[in-house]
Symmetry: C2
Subunit: 342 residues, 2 copies
């Protein structure tokens, strides 16, 4: 290790992590110092700030530049910022730091696909860009639920199902930087549920929050006098039942709601079992907005029934909404260390 790379790794050098979402951009200084057992997200994230996502490229770059400048000169921040890591939606080429496409609800990102180059010209710090689900997995791997593990799969259960894969301590990107689209493995060939991606039977259409609502609607259709069910909350239209209604009714102990949640757990386990058989990760970290409704013990049991090689090690994510920016900051710091060795 050279003198300069050693210096970068000491506790006085930190990176800024930025997470670009469809509605909000969040950023913070991330301390990548050696972890300690009692550490949590609050310990490694400093000066967290959040702004609405701008709606055009010029405002977007200006906002990012301002955030970086504010965090670089944060009052009371004794540590030197040496790099910037960006987590963003879309398919990202992490080597070029460019956005290759499919940017979901931030269409103008296509116009500034060379994000690394554009931003580096404004902030004179090295910039690293990574897909947000990959960055979140990397964050949990470095400072969250997956610390100390070399093979890890992170699953994000939300409106959809996302994921990130770490094998041999490295993010898996694949041949076209499009790996880890784990929500789109087919768990059914019956053409009952059409996924948002346009294909039938994707795991996401069952294991996401949206999938839970579809399962509720399906079970309600098979229930006599369904509109009287607690799950319906006085509504008449089965097709309008949503996730929140199911969760609320289940919390009140409603048997149908509990059954719906049980089937949802089976659906999650089906995909997890498949992914375990392909990747054999030492640990699976479950995050996302639906994670609080997962019964980890029950899900572990069901997943063990599906996987070839039990026991599996399922854990809830620890970094919450900070995972993406923490992971992006770590990737940026590591890239800076590698660059300093060249």
């Amino acid at each position: 290790m050279t003198q300069s790379s050693k210096a970068l790794l000491d506790n006085n050098r930190i990176a800024i992590g930025i997470d670009i979402g469809g509605t909000k951009v969040s950023a913070a200084r991330v301390i990548a110092a050696p972890t300690h057992p009692g550490q949590n997200a609050a310990d490694c994230v400093q000066g967290f700030i959040k702004q609405p996502t701008p709606t055009n490229p010029e405002d977007f770059l200006a906002t990012l530049t301002q955030m970086i400048q504010a965090l670089s000169t944060l009052e009371g921040g004794a540590m030197e910022v040496v790099a910037v890591g960006i987590a963003t939606a879309g398919i990202v080429d992490p080597v070029a730091g460019s956005i290759l496409g499919s940017t979901g609800n931030i269409p103008f990102l296509r116009q500034i696909s060379q994000l690394k180059t554009l931003l580096e010209s404004k902030v004179s710090l090295p910039v690293t860009v990574e897909n947000d689900a990959n960055a979140a997995a990397y964050g949990e791997y470095k400072q969250g639920a997956g610390r100390g593990v070399s093979d890890l799969l992170m699953i994000t259960l939300g409106t959809g199902v996302g994921g990130g894969i770490i094998l041999n301590s490295q993010l898996v990107h694949g041949g076209h930087c499009a790996a880890a689209e784990v929500g789109h493995i087919a768990v059914s060939m019956s053409r009952e549920r059409l996924c948002t991606c346009g294909k039938w039977g994707c795991w996401e259409a069952y294991a996401s929050g949206t999938g839970l609502a579809l399962t509720a609607q399906s079970l309600l259709r098979a229930t006599p006098n369904a509109t009287a069910s607690r799950v319906m909350m006085g509504q008449n239209n089965i097709l309008e039942v949503n996730t929140h209604q199911v969760i609320e009714a289940a919390e009140e102990g409603d048997p149908l709601a509990l059954k719906i949640l049980s089937v949802w757990h089976e659906h999650i386990a089906t995909g997890l079992g498949s992914l375990i058989n392909v990747l054999d990760p030492g640990v699976i970290v479950i995050g996302g907005g639906m994670a609080p409704f997962v019964n980890l013990e029950r899900l572990t049991q069901l997943t063990n029934e599906r996987a070839m090689l039990p026991p599996v090690d399922l854990r809830l994510a620890q970094l919450g909404n900070h995972a993406g920016l923490v992971g992006a900051a770590h990737l940026a710091l590591e890239a800076a260390v590698v660059a300093s060795r060249v």
Copy 2:
């Protein structure tokens, strides 16, 4: 690179590859020299020998030792053998060179699980051990259909469905050395087909030769006057229809047989699409006893319909039954180069 590692890589150093199957052990000298465009399996494999798999540990080790000695001193073999690579059924820890379990139809392998150590004490050459499906993938990657590709998935369609995964030019082993059990991703939640692994709905139960026969039986049951079908070949029992009958009838142009093969292609594509969405391999190599019955053009089309990021690059395997021993030999030679650097 040190002088000794450079010497190991020159064209005069070769490894012996051995493939341990349930009924046969095959072995050969493998020339790992730089490939040329017109190269095929015959070019890199020398002195191929084959013997029935012995039925006890003592005879087994004696057979392997004899094979290695015979190939080391092969008449006319001017090149020096510097390492031995073994491809075997079962879950293998490639670092320890040990067999961890699940050895299928060679039960006594459990008694000689420390295969690397045992064999090295007999042949005074460094020995490397790898799972046979992984080794086959590595063989196709080094000298077969996947040359020059850094992210590759190999699928073996036979009685079952096996696979090997190479990402960033490295075999994926997973946290418990049990990765790439690709035949056991769930493609159905309907509990129609029980897999040999004891779970419902595995891809293998649809995409294997066995799966093809089950599809035939299923379609025959829905066919009026099924016993008159060309697929039945004069039999009366639908449940006895096998793969060969379907293939033969399809070759004669029988419409039902062609329909069965078409559904089988859809089943294969369903799993391939899922694996592409998880791994994003640059290339997928299809091998195994059922591979000759795959219509690559049709399968590519169907897989593109399932995958998030077309176009996919499907190729037929090139090394046939030699893939495992070729891959094992390459792994052995590379391990010897690394060891010489230490």
